[in-house]
């Protein structure tokens, strides 16, 4: 089972360029809305024709601009789950699911429909119309309708965006189980960072139609190669930088000089550090440790976000961009009592440089 995509398409504001190869695994597309994520899925499904390139699924050429191949949507054997599930409002759940099995003998159609309904736990609502069932049930019905046709790859377009927050996590778990049992490549589109991380091993971050990061999820989250990727993966602390020596840089936005673990490569102009990697320490003589002044404290039910400004005194600190760090409530309680300024350490092994 393999999906190979290499396409370009001119869109209104940018050019979509997509290139990836996927075996039986889940690739998460992460990107802001309008970045070209859904458009890529539509190209694979055949709903949109790319300007150039090639799409191959299990050795079948779905699209090849050079050979003039553009397989009709109906023959692509691709499963696509729509953002709003797109169930047929005039058909019952069961009829919806059987829709794609039109050509099969009645007995087999019946068997396959029943099997998938049992598997996804929706046999009880078989005779309901889409408007009569909940969002989660609609999602499963749509998924069943797709899976029952045994598609060779599965494309999920923002599968949770139409659902309430409180049922998302439960459905996420169910979807994970279903995907785990599915024997083929899965492409999953979302603009939700955490969802993307939990559901996919491989992640591609898309910005203006181009992949700014692509790799295993840990690579992508821990060591983003480009500044857009860092921003899209939720990195709050990013600064422009200038080299002082190969192992030492000046972080222009923060007004600091920092030691690096490894030498900077040409082309890298930014550095960043994740908010949970920042440390409040007691020893001011540790490497990359600076006096920090609290600017804002934001509490959430389980942790605390601090906005800190760095500098010898408060006034100097006010002129630079702040850094943000996240602490557990308990850690916050222990540092809270310390006298100002606090000491903030940006450990060299947690700093990453980006283009």
């Amino acid at each position: 089972m393999e999906l190979e995509v290499d396409i370009t398409k001119q869109l209104k504001d940018f050019t979509l360029r997509q290139r990836f190869k996927l075996a039986k695994e889940t690739l998460g597309f992460l990107g802001a809305s309008g970045s070209g994520k859904s458009m890529t899925l539509k190209c694979i499904a055949g709903l949109v024709t790319p300007d150039e390139g090639r799409i191959v699924l299990n050795g079948r050429v779905l699209f090849d601009s050079r050979q003039g191949i553009n397989l009709p949507i109906q023959q692509r054997r691709v499963g696509l789950l729509f953002q709003n599930y797109a169930l047929f409002p005039n058909l019952t759940v069961k009829e919806n699911i059987a829709f794609g099995l039109r050509g099969l003998p009645k007995k087999e159609r019946e068997e396959r429909t029943e099997r998938i309904m049992a598997l996804l736990g929706i046999a009880g609502i078989r005779n309901s119309y889409p408007r009569q069932i909940s969002g989660g049930e609609q999602q499963r019905a749509a998924l069943a309708r797709t899976l029952v046709t045994e598609p060779e790859c599965l494309l999920l377009d923002e599968p949770f965006s139409a659902l309430d927050n409180h049922i998302r996590s439960r459905l996420e778990q169910q979807l994970l189980e279903i995907i785990a049992g599915y024997q083929g490549p899965v492409v999953f589109v979302t603009h939700n960072l955490k969802e993307c991380y939990r559901l996919s091993r491989q992640i591609m971050i898309i910005h203006q139609g181009e992949a700014v990061a692509y790799g295993s999820r840990d690579e992508v989250f821990d060591r983003p190669q480009r500044v857009e990727a860092a921003r899209l993966t939720g990195c709050k602390n990013i600064s422009r930088m200038e080299l002082v020596t190969p192992r030492r840089v000046k972080a222009l936005d923060w007004g600091l000089e920092l030691e690096l673990l490894e030498e900077a490569e040409p082309g890298q102009g930014y550095l960043g550090i994740r908010e949970h990697r920042l440390r409040l320490v007691e020893d001011p003589n540790l490497p990359n440790t600076f006096p920090a002044w609290v600017d804002q404290v934001r509490e959430t039910p389980f942790d605390v976000s601090l906005v800190l400004r760095l500098g010898e005194d408060r006034e100097e600190a006010g002129s630079c961009q702040p850094l943000q760090l996240t602490l557990s409530k308990e850690d916050y309680e222990t540092v809270k009592a310390r006298p100002c300024p606090w000491w903030l350490q940006l450990r060299p092994e947690h700093l990453f440089l980006m283009e």
Binding site: G46, I73, Q75, R76, A86, F88, P89, N90, G100
Partner: protein, 229 residues
């Protein structure tokens, strides 16, 4: 009083035939307009066709009748061809059908098109991704989902076809027993002072029209119940 039922018979025959043609033509046109591709050249053609189809709805019926005379008259574009194979349209029963159809099609076409355009584009795409050929998609999804709109279109078209006067009198004339429909019979009755005859025909038209409206309401209510609007 001498009262023959020919006008009722002719009216029903004409209106039903015209409605049948109108429904087929209206749905086909609407489908083509909404789902029949969208490249730039096709867009122009579509705009032109849209204009031509809608035109009879806004023109005075006599003008429609006049234009139809130009087309179907012995020296007209179509009329001449038909005359060569021995068919004369003007002042014949088919002329009543042509007149009624031409004025009813815009109603059917507009309502059906509106219904098609309201369908969520995703469900059309979903059906295709699931491998459904266009005919299956049409009969299994597009048509059932737009039934309330189509039903309304059918009733409107039937009512319009039944009431057609201006274009009919221009193209088909007012020949008793042949092209004289109820509206024409009413006109003639009033003109010649046979008021009691006019009353009767008016009552007949009222019964048919009210029946049609009640039928439409029942139909849409049933559809709405089922689809849960």
């Amino acid at each position: 009083m001498e009262f023959d039922l020919f006008p009722l018979w002719i009216s029903l025959k004409t209106a039903l035939t015209a409605t049948l043609i109108t429904v087929l033509a209206g749905i086909t046109l609407a489908y083509w307009m909404v789902y029949g591709g969208n490249n730039n050249r096709l867009k122009r053609v579509k705009e032109l066709v849209d204009l031509l189809v809608i035109l009879p709805m806004v023109l005075p019926p006599t003008v429609v009748g006049f234009l139809l005379l130009l087309i179907f008259g012995r020296n007209g574009l179509v009329g001449e061809l038909l005359y060569r194979v021995g068919v004369t349209v003007v002042f014949s029963w088919p002329a009543t059908v042509i007149a009624a159809t031409v004025v009813a099609v815009p109603l059917m076409y507009r309502t059906t098109r509106g219904a098609f355009e309201q369908i969520d584009g995703n469900i059309i795409e979903a059906a295709k991704v699931l491998g459904a050929p266009n005919w299956y998609l049409f009969f299994r999804v597009v048509l059932p989902v737009s039934l309330p709109g189509i039903g309304a279109g059918i009733i409107l078209s039937f009512a319009r076809a039944l009431g057609e006067f201006g274009a009919t009198i221009m193209l088909a004339g007012n020949i008793p027993g042949k092209t004289q429909t109820i509206p024409l019979a009413i006109f003639l009755a009033v003109e010649s002072g046979h008021m009691e005859k006019a009353y009767l025909w008016v009552a007949v038209v009222l019964v048919i029209s009210v029946g049609a409206i009640l039928g439409m309401n029942y139909w849409t209510k049933r559809q709405y119940l089922f689809k849960g609007f």
